[in-house]
Symmetry: C2
Subunit: 321 residues, 2 copies
């Protein structure tokens, strides 16, 4: 076993809907990975300690003393233990200063990454995305000087990075708005009845309309166009997606006052490609995609905190001496 294959950290991305675990070697290399649908609202019996043991117990038995670090909603009031937010500007040192160590209940321990608060007249908060941001800076250090990192999702975050710190960020509830309108409103009914199909043209049509503004008065067109035979029912969800993502882009780009720093999309590949296509339609061509930022961020924060295990011979290797 080479040094690069020796585990030095267990990293957890523990969010609202899922729990992902990474066994990380030197430089944040992913040696193994696991996932369970045990987001903080879906942990069996609400027993965080048992879920942690079930997913990582064998790793920790095999490599005793291996440190564990978790980011995400696990540090919220609804999680295992609440970890206070650290405030913007948030660099790695400030995140490290806000880490909380908790007893995992089976003789081990787990460190929790704090979320970030952008204070001000209208406060903004995030938990988990800070780790992806620092992962992106690990993967692409040239972004540290100045970049705009976009994390599309249930709650899209737009994080402005400068001098290796999160200076400011905004939240757009685009993913959640889409989901509740699809599943519970009249706009989702045609597709719920007939199924939906991938419709790039309908998506582009929604984007184009959103670019003109006043989306509040145009949402209903996702229904009226179907009723008047000008939009296929099964394409109406992509049209709605275009309207909602378009409104996010319109507002976010307008707030930049025309000066758009290097823009990076972080997260799920398919969703990031959808956003890249939308950005292109809004005239923003130079957009980079980054995946796997989560595990890289956990590595970077653990390293900055001095948590990483010294490369050690695994316990079972004594059998071979």
């Amino acid at each position: 076993m080479s040094d690069s294959e020796i585990p030095r950290l267990i990293g957890l991305d523990w969010g609202t809907s899922s729990l992902r675990a990474y066994l990380l070697g030197e430089g944040g290399r992913v040696l193994d990975r696991r996932a369970e649908p045990w987001g903080i609202q879906h942990v069996p019996d609400g027993d965080f300690a048992r879920a942690f043991a079930a997913l990582t117990g064998d790793w920790r038995a095999r490599w005793p003393g291996l440190p564990a670090l978790a980011a995400g909603m696990i540090g919220s009031a609804q999680g295992w233990q609440e970890v206070p937010y650290v405030e913007c500007p948030a660099d790695a040192a400030r995140l490290v200063g806000g880490l909380r160590r908790i007893d995992s209940g089976d003789g081990g321990s787990l460190h929790l990454v704090p979320g970030v608060l952008d204070a001000g007249a209208l406060p903004n908060v995030l938990r988990g995305e800070e780790t992806q941001v620092f992962g992106a800076l690990q993967l692409a250090p040239e972004l540290s000087a100045k970049a705009l990192l976009v994390l599309p999702g249930t709650h899209s975050k737009w994080a402005a990075v400068e001098d290796s710190a999160i200076r400011h960020f905004s939240t757009y509830m685009t993913g959640e708005l889409f989901a509740v309108l699809r599943d519970h409103s009249i706009l989702g009914r045609p597709a719920r009845a007939q199924g939906s199909r991938l419709a790039p043209d309908a998506f582009a049509r929604g984007l184009e309309l959103a670019r003109e503004g006043a989306v509040a008065g145009r949402l209903f067109s996702a229904r009226s166009l179907v009723l008047t035979g000008r939009l296929a029912a099964e394409e109406s969800l992509d049209y709605l997606s275009g309207l909602l993502i378009g409104e996010e882009l319109r507002c976010a780009l307008a707030s930049l006052d025309g000066a758009c720093p290097p823009l990076v999309l972080i997260g799920d590949g398919a969703l990031c490609r959808r956003y890249r296509e939308a950005l292109r339609q809004f005239g923003v061509e130079d957009v980079r995609l980054l995946e796997e930022a989560g595990s890289a961020g956990l590595w970077r924060i653990a390293e900055a905190a001095g948590l990483l295990a010294t490369p050690a011979i695994p316990t079972w290797s004594t059998d071979y001496v």
Copy 2:
């Protein structure tokens, strides 16, 4: 029994969630009224004829030949029979031209009012609100020359009336957006857990923020303000209501280019008062409220169509001769 107490029309407001029936005398005077939660999606066994008979059968038995007229979603594809939309500009004559008579299945008949289509690049449709608009013109004839009629609700309609016709209208899904966010999104969770209370200040605060625009990037503040202790959880729904109604007003008023015709709110009293308060905060002071526009509109359309029954002696009165 004086002439004014003799029934001349049965009017039905048959929408998505409820069915209201009016027994109307001369001038549209409401002699009797009934309601059942038999909106078109909740009619027992989907049997429209039986629901119609159950609600109005005794009236029609007592006054044979009494005409019946229904407005609303009952004329949609999901209703009793689909009635094609008539197009803007829609005056009373055009609505009358689009009336459909159907056999009620028990020897009687029922006329259905058509909805209205505002064609164009982005079509708009309504069903039921056209009748309330013509009811408002019946109650306040001075509005016929030029007025802006606002019907707040699940799908708020802003109808521009000129020369006694609906020239154009817009739809804002404000009520439905509020309901799905309250019931199914993270924004409703604090209030679902703790209950909500009437909070005029929180409503005003949401309105003020919406007035500045970019609501898409501010919706999440209904959560982040609660998380940071700057908004009481039980006041967050009124804040959200302010954001959403504010966005409707901002878009709708901006589309007027500064020239706001006499503005009238039609519909449920509490909701109309909420909109009047919001309009006041947006600088629109001169707003009138009209209730009972639905029954007045049914009367007006029936009168224009020549449907009204000749005042007749009820069948049972022969017993008294």
